[in-house]
């Protein structure tokens, strides 16, 4: 049974969907000027500068923290480099009350919402001020006040959760939606298919934003799927879909704004495939020279989304080279100073090992904790992070 009346033919006719070629939505050329037939976007100066500053901040944070990782100050890091427009342009098109459920490379969206450098650093160093209480590896940020769901390492699990979260928002009827981010690799997970199908069936206000950045660690998109990207899958779910130049801040913003309208006003979930490129390594543990060429990277560096936006801002006389220099210097200084502060802060208390497993610590775990404290008191030199904490209590 299908939802439409079947069209009948009398010879075995197969189709591979090749007739559906999905176009790419672009507004901004690489030189920062608009395409001839492109409609000037509805983006005022204040918002445009908020977006741009966030993009630059994210780039600088990423550069500095990767360097810090290389110096051994940090165990791990993941950069958003090259994908700032896809992430920040889309987040900027939402209401601040909309929920963001990201994968792990979307720190720009969180920065746009107002997460401070201090807050980033506290998580990265897992100190006593980290909201996550030092439990997760670096870049697993979360903020309830900024409606940014805490990152979880398993890929794609956030996608059906976004469908569920948005279903709850629909029932609450306050006009909010959820956006979820993931890579083209994660879109191969079963959770992706489950999420899109359920969203379409239940007409849920959710935006699925796929960052098609070319690689899942080392696996190129050509070895991830045979189809023309991720976008055509939306047809199978009867879902609205758009493919957008992910390095074109104006196009990403415009597409997401329209998607939000479909989601919130018409309960139509949307799939956005943002075509971009992961200019950096997958993570600080990865070395792309083993699977892609310098020439390929150089070609994409020419399409840098930050450069493209800067050229557009300059053409509007909203931004100058001097402004840029000042922003770069200020942010570098702030990142450096904040990092030093965060690194010096003490680790979370020993109790945080056992709290939040449940709403209350169950008796068996409380017993294990008491035993651990006794043990640490016996060998304090072996546990420098917690020896002081272990002194208290029974």
């Amino acid at each position: 049974m299908t939802t439409t009346k079947p069209r009948v033919v009398h010879s075995p006719k197969f189709t591979d969907g090749a007739e559906f070629r999905i176009p790419t939505f672009k507004l901004l050329k690489e030189d920062g000027s608009l395409y001839k037939s492109a409609k000037a976007p509805d983006l005022d100066k204040e918002k445009a500068l908020r977006i741009y500053r966030t993009m630059v901040t994210t780039r600088i944070l990423d550069e500095r923290m990767l360097a810090a990782q290389r110096q051994g100050r940090l165990s791990f890091y993941m950069q958003c480099t090259g994908e700032e427009a896809a992430v920040i342009g889309s987040a900027a098109a939402l209401d601040d009350n909309d929920m963001i459920m990201a994968q792990y490379r979307e720190q720009g969206a969180l920065a746009y919402r107002g997460f401070t450098i201090d807050e980033f650093m506290n998580q990265l160093f897992g100190n006593e001020l980290d909201y996550g209480k030092g439990r997760q590896m670096p870049v697993h940020y979360g903020s309830s006040k900024l409606n940014y769901m805490t990152i979880s390492s398993p890929l794609a699990t956030q996608i059906p959760q976004a469908t569920g979260y948005a279903y709850g928002q629909k029932l609450a009827g306050e006009g909010h939606c959820t956006i979820t981010y993931f890579g083209e690799g994660a879109a191969s997970e079963g959770d992706f298919h489950a999420a899109l199908n359920m969203a379409a069936v239940q007409r849920v206000p959710v935006i699925f934003l796929c960052r098609n950045n070319g690689y899942a660690i080392s696996t190129p998109a050509t070895e991830q799927f045979a189809a023309d990207g991720v976008a055509p899958r939306a047809y199978g779910y009867k879902m609205d879909v758009i493919r957008v130049d992910g390095n074109d801040i104006l196009a990403v913003h415009e597409a997401t704004k329209a998607a939000r309208q479909l989601a919130v006003e018409h309960n139509r979930p949307v799939l956005i495939e943002a075509m971009t490129y992961r200019l950096a390594a997958h993570s600080s543990s990865d070395d792309p020279s083993g699977y892609r060429s310098k020439d390929e990277e150089a070609a994409w560096r020419e399409k840098d989304p930050i450069l493209r936006m800067r050229l557009w801002l300059e053409s509007k006389k909203w931004w100058s080279e001097a402004d840029d220099k000042e922003l770069q210097e200020t942010m570098r200084r702030e990142v450096l100073e904040t990092m030093k502060r965060a690194q010096k802060r003490p680790p979370p208390p020993l109790e945080s090992l056992v709290t939040d497993v449940y709403d209350e610590v169950p008796p068996a775990l409380a017993e294990q904790f008491q035993k651990l404290k006794v043990h640490i008191r016996k060998y304090p030199e072996a546990y420098p992070k917690s020896a002081e904490h272990a002194k208290g209590g029974a």
Binding site: T150, P154, P160, T163, Y165, A194, N197, P362
Partner: protein, 325 residues
């Protein structure tokens, strides 16, 4: 009070919860207008509308992913997995997501409102894939609660307890008893505590411990043993995680003997955990080795299911051996 079977009691619990709080939602495969393949959600869609009680596509990982998101948003989802045997596509969402949501976010977010219902267990000629008891897989995951009721009164009270508990809870329903177990059930809202075992019969010579459908088996075995003059203390564990080792240990201090029985296979079964904990706590009080009476280490069979299952005769034999050790 109304005479109900276990399905009616579960339906009454869901009805009670949905009437009291509009954030409570029920969904799963065939849960909507049909009321579930076992009819546990009968009439709920008719009563509370399609938005709050509905069918989902046939995708367990999607059902639980969706439920996790809903719970994080502040709703109170009661998701049904049609058979516990089919819960494994959702294993990642349960083990890596539901269980860790609160911990990994430093309590910024949680899915405490989540309850997952799933019929479990054998004795219905269900073969490999309609008979399993998967509680031990989940018992290895801190952050989850696991509850198994033994009769209609317990089912309603424990399910309401699970729905209102601020932690994600797996509620495994003994499907063999769905219609077979009948009893008086209060019509109003009442909640039985999670994490507390119940001594259903006091005795002095031996403690016999189980949960869910196995309690009926224990009762039959104990009846035989008592005829032999063996005084048995019977405990329904009720909550597998976190489990009430104190009640069990206190009983074993008194009796000096323990038989644990469950349908799931022996190796890696939850009886092993219980035996380890109790020997640690009660070592000097034990009069005989702790006995485990369980399903065999095979996939769940079909024609030879009776041979496979830990029935009353096997439990009775274990009681005898323990007392005569």
């Amino acid at each position: 009070m109304t005479q109900m079977n276990m399905l009616q009691a579960i339906n009454s619990a869901l009805d009670t919860a949905m009437a009291a709080d509009e954030r409570v939602l029920c969904f799963g495969e065939d849960v909507g207008v049909f009321g579930g393949v076992f009819r546990a959600t009968s009439n709920l869609q008719q009563k509370y509308g399609k938005a709050r009680c509905f069918n989902t596509p046939l995708v367990e990982q999607g059902i639980i992913g969706f439920a996790n998101g809903l719970a994080a948003q502040g709703s109170v989802p009661v998701a049904e997995i049609q058979f516990a045997d089919y819960i494994f596509p959702a294993f990642d969402q349960i083990v890596n997501e539901s269980a860790k949501f609160r911990y990994r976010s430093g309590n910024l977010f949680n899915v405490g409102g989540l309850t997952i219902r799933a019929p479990y267990g054998g004795g219905i000629a269900g073969g490999l894939y309609h008979s399993q008891s998967p509680e031990a897989y989940f018992a290895h995951t801190p952050g989850l609660k696991i509850v198994v009721p033994r009769n209609p009164h317990q089912a309603k009270g424990l399910l309401l307890g699970a729905i209102h508990d601020p932690n994600p809870t797996l509620f495994f329903e003994p499907k063999r008893l769905y219609r077979a177990s009948v009893g008086e059930v209060p019509d109003e809202d009442y909640r039985l505590p999670l994490g507390e075992a119940e001594i259903t019969k006091e005795g002095t010579d031996i403690t016999v411990l189980g949960w869910g459908a196995q309690m009926e088996v224990i009762d039959q075995a104990v009846e035989m043993a008592e005829k032999d003059g063996i005084s048995c203390e019977v405990i329904d564990l009720r909550t597998i995680l976190p489990w009430d080792y104190e009640t069990v240990a206190n009983s074993v201090f008194k009796t000096g003997r323990l038989v644990v029985t469950h349908e799931a296979p022996l190796t890696g079964g939850f009886a092993g955990e219980i035996a380890a904990t109790i020997q640690e706590r009660c070592f000097l009080y034990l009069e005989s080795p702790i006995a485990r009476v369980t399903g065999m280490d095979t996939p769940f069979p079909l024609v030879l299911e009776k041979e496979h299952l830990p029935n009353h005769l096997k439990v009775y034999e274990a009681i005898r051996s323990s007392v005569e050790f």
